[in-house]
């Protein structure tokens, strides 16, 4: 399942909703991305995220579909926020559930790596002087995404 929303989310609650009443799940992995106070050596005081409504949901759905095809997943949730965010707040959440840990770990890793290079979101940082900057793409993110390509 995918959700694109401005509102903050509760990680514990989302895991609870996914696993409640089920006895077939053996492993749950979650990743949360947070707003941090530095980037490329500069202090960051706030963040806003823009996205492409419509295409965002389509890309995230494709990424989820790919993960479900590659790994044995019993459930999968991606939540990505947009709009204004304060330092320390969560930006993105990925939860995967599987009978065994390997699939849940790998799928969560894959989902984040692909999401970072495919889903149409753009970060804009605010610095200590109140200036806004569009965040640049990272070479390391591109590299991280390509490692999942070999078996596709």
């Amino acid at each position: 399942m995918i959700r694109v929303q401005p509102d903050i989310f509760d990680i514990g609650k989302e895991i609870e909703v996914m696993t409640n009443g089920r006895t077939d799940i053996g492993a749950v992995v979650s990743f949360t991305g947070l707003v941090r106070d530095f980037n490329d050596g500069s202090k960051v005081t706030g963040l806003s995220l823009e996205h492409y409504p419509g295409m965002t949901e389509r890309e995230l759905a494709k990424i989820e579909e790919e993960a479900r095809a590659r790994w044995d997943l019993q459930d999968c949730l991606i939540i990505h926020r947009y709009g204004e965010m304060a330092l320390g707040e969560p930006i993105v959440l990925v939860i995967t559930a599987s009978p065994h840990r390997q699939d849940a770990f790998e799928a969560a890793h894959f989902l984040m790596d692909w999401l970072k290079t495919k889903a149409p979101f753009w970060k804009q940082e605010v610095n200590a002087r109140g200036e806004t900057n569009w965040v640049k793409e990272r070479e390391s993110d591109l590299k991280a995404a390509t490692r999942w390509k070999s078996d596709s």
Binding site: G33, L49, E50, H51, Y52, G54, M55, R58, H80, I91, V92, M112, L115, K116, T117, K118, A119, P120, F121, W122, K123, Q124, W134, V135, K136, E137, R138, D141
Partner: protein
């Protein structure tokens, strides 16, 4: 055609979207980009380095020149930075 701009392209062009009537000049994405570059200094600047501009047609990434029709939605944006 509906044209959308995101992130720094939007900031530089001071526009989030516009409607462009279909013509021979924008029959495909290569032609559209060529035409965009002729629209003034900010357009010329935004489209000067296509390495940093991604194109989506009808909300799908394109990899090569793509034929465009009247009803198509074309989006221009920088490499994504979510997550």
């Amino acid at each position: 055609m509906k044209i959308l701009y995101f992130a720094w392209l939007k900031t530089k062009l001071q526009m989030t979207s516009e409607s462009v009537p279909w013509s021979e000049e924008c029959r495909d994405t290569d032609s559209l980009v060529r035409w965009m570059k002729t629209r003034g200094p900010s357009f010329a600047e935004v489209f000067s380095d296509l390495e940093v501009v991604r194109i989506a047609v009808n909300q799908e990434y394109i990899t090569g020149n793509t034929v465009l029709g009247k009803e198509d939605e074309v989006a221009f944006f920088p490499p994504v930075t979510g997550g």
